[in-house]
């Protein structure tokens, strides 16, 4: 008797274990038929990178709610995930599984090319023709081989954010338009004892962006395009970029020990230095207005002194002086997402929704008809410069993909640290392209 009872217990235990194991391997796919739009109830999962409480996150929640009110068959489940976590771990892992989110953050460039090659994304060329036309050339960053796989909702070029009061005190009449004038401004700012330029080299990319800009000035547009598609870095202009950067660093325009300064998000960061009047300039993208606000001790003062000007030109260089570096954020739909996903994507980039996005002040809209939503004067000057740019080169690390991008940024940081050479940057990029 005793034995049977124990045997039964053992049996029960093993069954429980087996059930547990089976439960883990579950995961059914319930893809609704793509017959007619908005006929069957569907749930869209949406992963975006506005993870912190604030206007950005609130706005996306509102957008999802509005869309649901418009199309009651569509329920949207939102998850906001911090950018690095989303881009580096959560999204790649989810895309490898058979249950990815339906609509998710897409950064364009080299990454979207890889995702398309792996057959992860939905071709939206036909469904989103009108939106692509309204957005214009920047939508190309989310296209691969002439087919559209995602749409941007934010796009802007980078430039130099500066403290107008400090410029005035140093006797700098107008924002520099050439690097010679920038060097002059640096000298004048040093004379009044302020840090001329803050750089968050600790996070690598804020430092690397200086090299990108020297490359943009040294290389022709064709060379840059070829580098993005073929990962071909043979052109000597890439070494020239490093040499120009090196001589610029030698003029000591940056704060001390910049190698450990973070880029943004805390008062000791480069962002914090500019926002709190400890540095006069910072090279940064259009999102900077929002991040400066969060680290500023006195937002009112910040709004009064902050200004923006495009990256100066280098006289006599091969690059197009009106070309600019930029980048943006977009969304893409998973291969097997319901057709409603694309409709929602189109809704996000529609002029009204884009206007509301612009009003949050977290970035510049891409759709024509949303410009009036941009109220901040600094953001308005970026919008004008973006429209006026002859060519917008996507951030080089995004354009070249994570592997080359990461190796390139590391090697550029080595130049900043004083133990790397311009040639080593190009060598690192070439060897990473083979990894």
């Amino acid at each position: 008797m005793a034995i049977t009872r124990r045997a039964r217990t053992v049996l029960a235990l093993s069954i429980t274990t087996a059930l547990l194991a089976a439960g883990c391997s579950g995961g059914e796919s319930d893809a609704p038929p793509e017959s007619e739009l908005f006929k069957n109830p569907v749930t869209l999962t949406w992963w975006h990178n506005a993870s912190q409480d604030g206007p950005g996150k609130e706005y996306w929640a509102k957008v999802a709610k509005d869309f649901n009110a418009l199309h009651p068959t569509v329920t949207i489940e939102i998850e906001g995930i911090e950018t690095n976590q989303l881009q580096r771990t959560r999204l790649p892992a989810a895309l490898l599984s058979n249950d990815p989110p339906d609509i998710f953050q897409a950064w364009g460039g080299g990454e979207i090319r890889e995702q398309v090659e792996a057959d992860y994304l939905k071709d939206i060329t036909e469904q989103a023709k009108g939106e692509v036309a309204n957005i214009g050339s920047s939508a190309e960053i989310w296209a691969v081989n002439g087919k559209q796989y995602g749409l941007p909702y934010r796009m802007g070029i980078e430039g130099i954010w500066y403290n107008k009061d400090m410029f005035e005190r140093a006797g700098i009449a107008a924002p520099p338009t050439t690097f010679d004038e920038l060097n002059e401004a640096v000298t004048k700012l040093k004379a009044i004892n302020v840090v001329p330029i803050a750089v968050g080299a600790g996070d690598k990319w804020p430092a690397a962006h200086w090299w990108y800009n020297f490359a943009l000035r040294a290389c022709s547009v064709d060379t840059l395009k070829k580098a993005s598609t073929d990962l071909d870095f043979e052109d000597p202009c890439f070494v020239k970029a490093g040499e120009d950067l090196k001589s610029f660093i030698d003029t000591k325009p940056f704060q001390n020990n910049f190698i450990a300064t973070p880029g943004q998000n805390d008062p000791t960061s480069a962002n914090g230095m500019l926002a709190n009047g400890k540095a006069a300039m910072e090279l940064m993208g259009d999102w900077n207005k929002g991040t400066l606000d969060t680290v500023a001790e006195d937002t009112e003062a910040l709004n009064k002194f902050i200004g923006w000007f495009p990256v100066p030109a280098i006289s006599g260089s091969a690059g197009d002086p009106k070309a600019a570096l930029g980048g943006g954020d977009g969304f893409a739909c998973a291969k097997n997402a319901p057709a409603e996903c694309v409709e929602f994507l189109k809704y996000i980039v529609s002029p009204e929704v884009q206007k509301g996005y612009a009003e949050t002040g977290t970035g510049l809209p891409v759709a024509k008809g949303a410009e009036s939503g941009v109220q901040d004067p600094a953001l308005r000057s970026i919008l004008e410069a973006t429209t006026g740019a002859t060519y917008v080169q996507l951030w080089l690390d995004t354009a070249f993909g994570s592997t080359v991008g990461n190796a390139m940024n590391d090697a550029i940081v080595a130049i900043f640290a004083g133990n790397g050479t311009p040639q080593q940057v190009v060598d690192a990029m070439k060897s990473a392209a083979r990894k």
């Binding site: 547990l20 883990c24 995702q115």
Partner: protein, 334 residues
């Protein structure tokens, strides 16, 4: 660690023999007892074994499998490259820097934390007013979350931060250094932070060990005329041996795998230059950020292999006496 527990469990679960003393039906009873024993073993260990296999062994197998591919984490791995990823790791100067930094942390932790912890533990083991408060204080850093400690020290040690201000205010301004920015200095700064964080653990462990030292032995030695120092040196310390060795073991494994404090305190640029990278941070930087998943897995396997060999060697040579009977074959000695 796990292997010790695993083998200990079945050994502890053999209370079956007294039943064998029953006079009648010995043979059939013994067979039933054996069967019963195995039911018990299988029934009680299956859940644990299933979890262990699914979440430890299987992922380890996958890690090794993926490490043989050139794989970017997009689509299934297809490009088999044998052991190229391993060769690549040992040819990368930054990985070698990471190995060196791990070695500094392993030996630095043992050499600095050991004596400090021993001294403090001996002091706190004496009777004095407020002893509990001091014990608590010594243990506080260990209780704090790693990320909290990392951010705290990052803010203290930043350029012109609290620490620099402190040095200047006591007239030692000349000693101010870029603690986290100087590429030669940063690993020592981090060793200091790690020591601050983990010395409390060593102290608590040693205090627990000290409470097991019989008071009678100390009294006997005192009656024989031994001084306090002699008692500590010849009575307490030898009896504390097992505790010290276990702490050394835990400290070593922890130092080889250290990640969070380094990740938070030291910025990406300094890590990528090799100055503050450890094997674990190197793995994440390369696996996820450079999106070399196959390569990242290879680094993970190397990290595992080094920790595993270190653990085995340590058990074989230093922990031998303490764990005798548990994992050695002489368990059944009379």
């Amino acid at each position: 660690m796990t292997s010790t527990n695993q083998t200990l469990n079945p050994a502890g679960g053999v209370p079956a023999s007294p039943a064998g003393l029953r006079p009648a039906g010995r043979t059939s009873n013994r067979a039933a007892e054996t069967r019963r024993k195995w039911y018990e073993i299988i029934g009680l260990t299956t859940p644990a074994i299933v979890v262990y296999v699914m979440f430890v062994l299987v992922p380890m197998g996958f890690a090794f499998y993926y490490s043989l591919f050139r794989w970017r984490g997009v689509g299934p791995p297809t490009e088999y490259i044998g052991f190229d990823n391993y060769v690549m790791a040992f040819q990368d100067p930054i990985f070698l820097d990471a190995l060196r930094n791990n070695a500094i942390i392993v030996f630095g932790s043992l050499a600095i934390q050991g004596p400090i912890a021993l001294g403090v533990a001996l002091l706190l083991n004496r009777n004095f007013r407020g002893r509990t408060v001091f014990r608590l204080l010594a243990f506080v850093p260990y209780v704090l979350a790693e990320v909290t400690v990392g951010i705290m020290w990052k803010l203290i040690l930043t350029d012109g931060g609290t620490f620099d201000a402190l040095l200047r205010s006591i007239g030692l301004g000349g000693l101010v250094q870029p603690w986290l920015a100087d590429l030669d200095l940063v690993i020592w700064t981090l060793l200091f932070v790690l020591t601050w964080k983990y010395v409390g653990f060593a102290i608590i462990l040693l205090l627990a060990g000290l409470s097991n030292v019989p008071q009678e032995l100390n009294e006997a030695a005192a009656i024989d005329g031994a001084s306090w120092w002699q008692i500590q040196r010849h009575v307490t310390l030898p009896l504390l041996g097992p505790t010290i060795r276990i702490w050394m073991f835990l400290s070593m494994i922890g130092s080889l795998q250290v990640f969070d404090v380094i990740w938070v305190t030291s910025v990406p640029a300094v890590r990528s230059l090799g100055a503050s990278a450890t094997m674990a941070t190197y793995m994440v930087d390369n696996g996820f950020f450079a999106r070399l998943w196959g390569y990242g897995n290879a680094v993970a396997v190397i990290l595992f292999a080094i920790s595993f060999v270190a653990a085995l060697l340590f058990q074989r040579f230093l922990l031998r006496r303490d764990i005798e009977g548990a994992i050695t074959r002489r368990a059944n000695r009379p």
